[in-house]
Subunit: 436 residues, 2 copies
């Protein structure tokens, strides 16, 4: 049971300058070595590991007995004195005056939190709480958290207002089939696969620039290393802007986030062995036509007008390094709300942001003219009546606008060069996995 | 179509100090007055309204003709010169040199964006994009956005890490019946009604202090002014803390948010006519027993052991002003994960934060002992097997912990003294409403 005392320091706050100070630490028994006359305990908390050293001569019998009974992964509270010690890791250790067991752990554990025994991803996800005790796992989530923080700071500085749009929707966003049906009282409803239509409607409200960071749900049957059925989407939409304006915001966002993470997540990047380079601005902008050429020149067949296959992405990733845009996509393979180019309506103002062979963001200047939008909805075989409340926003003064969606997990994969998207989600949801 | 020019100023950036400067503004035609020899246009953007003044003598014939054709709620781009003018609202106006229509508006509008014609909430929600053109509506969402910003800044300063937990779940959080069922491929799943079990599992991970701001879904049939079926929940959970520790975090958060909003949303508060007082710390802490007495003394019957009825809340709200806690709730009416008091297990370490007659947050110290948790799950008639992955986190070193959930909409209602929760959600979801 937690008493009246509280932690005074995290382990990484214990430095030689605190030599002689009284401290209270709380965390997990990472390792315990009982050499008879001396007991060493490695105490682990969110910030790292610190050594507790109890020589029998300097420790009360009662306390020594208590320490001897500790087992790996017990949760303990240690009161003691900081002592400089060149031999200890970090040059500092704690000489304990009291220890209290706050929670025990069954032995053995279903997963080894020291990481010495390797485990498959599925075993790790089944015991995610233990998996996260490994610094190289928690580092990913600390960086993802910082990335989201940094994205918000950047967008708010740029004048974007946070909005919350509904995830329970009456009909398909893009008329797709990738929707999870819900029973909403006596009606059928769906889970939002994107805030697209809502953030566009906000452009007619005068809020001018909006962003949302929220879960999206896609009932894709994909079982790949890059897809999940529930992910976090970072969405923006801005009025009086075109595709190039929001591409500039996106590339500056990427650079800002990277600088911020380099500054604030040094320890985590070191644990992951990742040197994050700051990409140069502006990012390269490839035309879709060029992409078709590059892919074919790499011996992978891509017909003009097709979306990129996985093989095409890989071929492109071998030529292109770092972050780059693909723009001027064929209108026919992009959603109805994407604006066709005036000079050649078969091409569009849609763009993707790529990192090597990974698509991390999609965006476009949107159609803001009501009649063109209706025409495009029909052309895609959809019924404009299903889009009535969306279309209504285009009748009473809808400014030109543009926006993008950036996958939070895809971006984390790019930042940390992670190959499996499941590594970037605490509790992934895929075709097979719905627990924990 | 958007050309190469971009907005140089928002309307509220045009001050007398810019007298003589060239400017480009973009927004909606709020009002237009054609007096024959002079045309006045009120241009509205996110920040406010500015007057465009076109005397026929100083305006080219071509431009004058264009201006004359403008209609209410057209989206326009105006190029012109700033001119000091004591008669104009704000003491400044724009003398136009060019105007461009970016989008037209059908007439009449289904809702009057000037607010002169009053409309019912349902009509307003049907055309939310028009409703938001009224400053007293958009002010609510600007403040809600700032509140969320301010909550994050506060929690991150307090050492909390943002997490994202799944909204697609295999089973009930608290065994309740208030769940929306989903078809998840060939299986049945549910929408998360709270991140409770996930944030608790994170306490066994060593992340120490976590927070999440995300939608929650409740299939309650309630049709009240305080309930919706989809809302945003602000959740925290902290290891090595008890109920009192997280109550202190919560009350300091409320005070910090209020100070921040007073500093950053002066215009919005003024538009809403709201004077936000800074509450004194600590907030009053009522025992549940006292609450029963107060309510009964007000002539509303409340039996010991019952949850507060709406009538009881109202009776309490007549006595209690501002923010206050209710603590020591009966264990029997709180969920299984709430820690019973050691001195009297019929009472618990659960608390609610109230604002007058409105509950805005619930929290507790949690049960962290595996066996007690299993016992409590059984006592509530639930099957511990359904909670296997949750319970697993309590077997391998689960520290004592506590947390709370704060309703983002309820908090906004308290901040702005709003009576209907629908006023605080862009696109509310209730028993009857699933669109737009």
């Amino acid at each position: 049971m937690l008493g009246k005392t509280r932690r005074t320091h995290y382990s990484n706050e214990i430095t030689t300058s605190l030599d002689g100070s009284h401290t209270i630490l709380m965390g997990w028994v990472h390792e315990i070595r009982d050499l008879g006359g001396i007991i060493f305990i490695l105490l682990r908390d969110r910030t790292g590991i610190i050594q507790i050293t109890a020589p029998s001569k300097k420790t009360s019998k009662d306390l020594f007995k208590k320490l001897r009974k500790l087992k790996k992964e017990y949760v303990i509270e240690v009161e003691g004195t900081v002592k400089k010690s060149p031999k200890a890791p970090g040059g500092v250790e704690i000489i304990p005056s009291n220890v209290k067991v706050l929670a025990k752990s069954q032995q053995p554990l279903p997963l080894d939190p020291t990481g010495k025994v390797k485990a498959e991803i599925d075993t790790r996800l089944d015991s995610r709480f233990l998996d996260l005790r490994r610094p190289e796992v928690s580092a990913i989530f600390k960086i993802k958290s910082r990335m989201l923080h940094s994205v918000r700071v950047f967008l708010e500085k740029e004048g974007f207002i946070e909005i919350n749009t509904p995830k329970l929707v009456a009909s398909a966003t893009e008329g797709g089939t990738e929707l999870f049906p819900i029973t909403y009282f006596e009606r059928e409803a769906f889970l939002g696969q994107s805030p697209q239509l809502y953030k566009q409607m906000m452009m007619a409200s005068g809020l001018d620039k909006v962003y949302e960071i929220a879960p999206i749900f896609r009932a894709e049957e994909h079982d790949t290393l890059r897809h999940l059925n529930e992910v976090i989407s970072i969405d923006i939409e801005a009025a009086f802007m075109n595709h190039e304006d929001v591409m500039k915001i996106l590339e500056r966002l990427v650079v800002n986030v990277i600088k911020d993470i380099r500054g604030h997540c040094k320890d985590e990047l070191e644990i992951l062995g990742r040197e994050l380079e700051i990409p140069k601005l502006p990012f390269e902008r490839l035309e879709y036509d060029e992409v078709v050429e590059i892919v074919n020149s790499q011996g992978v067949h891509l017909r003009y007008g097709e979306d990129l296959s996985r093989a095409a992405e890989k071929a492109l990733g071998e030529i292109m390094d770092g972050y780059y845009f693909i723009k001027s996509w064929p209108t026919s393979i992009k959603p109805f709300y994407v604006m066709p180019r005036e000079d050649d309506p078969s091409k569009s103002y849609a763009f993707d942001l790529m990192y090597k062979d990974l698509e991390i963001s999609s965006g476009a200047m949107r159609v803001h003219e009501h009649d063109l939008l209706v025409e495009k909805i029909k052309k895609q075989g959809l019924n404009p009546r299903s889009f009535e409340s969306y279309l209504s926003a285009f009748r009473y003064g809808m400014p030109p606008h543009a926006g993008w969606g950036l996958g939070a997990e895809r971006f984390t994969m790019a930042l940390l060069e992670i190959k499996n998207i499941r590594e970037t989600v605490l509790f992934p949801r895929d075709r097979r996995r719905l627990t924990p």
